[in-house]
């Protein structure tokens, strides 16, 4: 089993369900990547690198999701 800390809360994943990249994680969470700023272990990851950025158990991810209106 793997664990990711997402916005301060630990979320467990079964080994075969562990997302491989940030893009996989957002897809698992059902979040549109066009609306998210992501920080992996304190470093901002640009949106066009979500699919190429691997994640592994034990890492901390902050996801800031934007909804429209202003």
């Amino acid at each position: 089993m793997g664990v990711l800390k997402i916005n301060g809360k630990e979320k467990p994943f079964a080994d075969d369900k562990m997302p491989a990249t940030i893009a996989d994680l957002l897809s698992t969470l059902g979040v549109d990547s066009a609306t998210v700023v992501a920080e992996l272990d304190g470093k901002i990851i640009e949106r066009d690198k979500f699919g190429k950025t691997p994640i592994c158990s034990g890492q901390s991810i902050e996801l800031v999701r934007f909804v429209p209106g202003g």
């Binding site: 066009a34 609306t35 700023v37 901002i44 934007f66 909804v67 209106g69 202003g70």
Partner: protein, 229 residues
């Protein structure tokens, strides 16, 4: 604080609206010193306002009233009748550019504020240049993708600029669900985080106003309490 001179407007007071020097102050001693140090900090500050809709038109107004020295404002749009439900414009401004109308309105409020204008669409290529001299940017866009774009750009393509962004302000009521949260040293996020115009189909001056004043207040806090990194 240099900008492109052609974009820099020194505001003249509106006719009949000249400001007088204050004759006396109600503050004395330490309190007077405290207030004057805040006034000086704000007068030296530069804030970028990205977008002049429901958020930006209200944030710019609040910052001018607070005495922020310079605003760098950017928008590409004109005032429409439908904007008057929440944006700081007036019926006689319909059809004019939001940039021109904001300058006109700020001039009537505080002719001492310096305003640099950019009638452009903000994109990753021009954001670092247009806002290079600001202390803080107010993200005042309406689409989620544009909000994402400017926050990501500021955090990855600039070194020290802080950004106050908004997510979740649609509908009415539930004022206290709108929070100001420090996400990271350079990012402050305002809003309830979930109520967008995609799910809640309308915006009100009141709830957008609550978010805009959270945003302006967070900016004042950054300018007064923290030295720009």
């Amino acid at each position: 604080m240099r900008g492109d001179p052609k974009n820099l407007l020194r505001l003249e007071p509106a006719k009949g609206g000249e400001l007088k020097e204050p004759e006396s102050t109600p503050f004395a001693g330490v309190l007077c010193y405290f207030m004057s140090s805040i006034t000086e900090k704000l007068a030296r500050s530069v804030v970028g306002v990205a977008g002049l809709g429901g958020l930006g038109s209200n944030v710019a107004t609040a910052l001018a009233r607070a005495g922020v020295g310079k605003l760098i404002i950017a928008d590409f749009d004109n005032v429409e009748q439908a904007n008057l439900d929440r944006q700081q414009y007036f019926t006689d401004q319909i059809g004019k550019s939001k940039i021109d109308c904001t300058v006109e309105n700020l001039r009537r409020i505080n002719p001492r504020v310096e305003v640099e204008v950019h009638n452009v669409t903000l994109v990753p290529d021009n954001i670092p240049r247009i806002f290079r001299n600001v202390d803080v940017i107010a993200e005042c866009f309406d689409t989620a993708a544009a909000k994402q774009m400017i926050v990501e750009t500021v955090l990855t393509k600039t070194e020290r600029i802080r950004i106050v962004s908004v997510s979740g302000l649609a509908g009415y009521g539930n004022s206290n669900a709108i929070k100001t949260r420090r996400i990271s040293p350079r990012l402050v996020l305002v809003g309830d985080g979930q109520t967008g115009i995609d799910t809640c189909k309308f915006l009100t001056a009141a709830r957008v106003g609550v978010a805009a004043m959270h945003q302006a207040n967070a900016i004042l806090e950054l300018l007064i309490d923290e030295i720009s990194p």
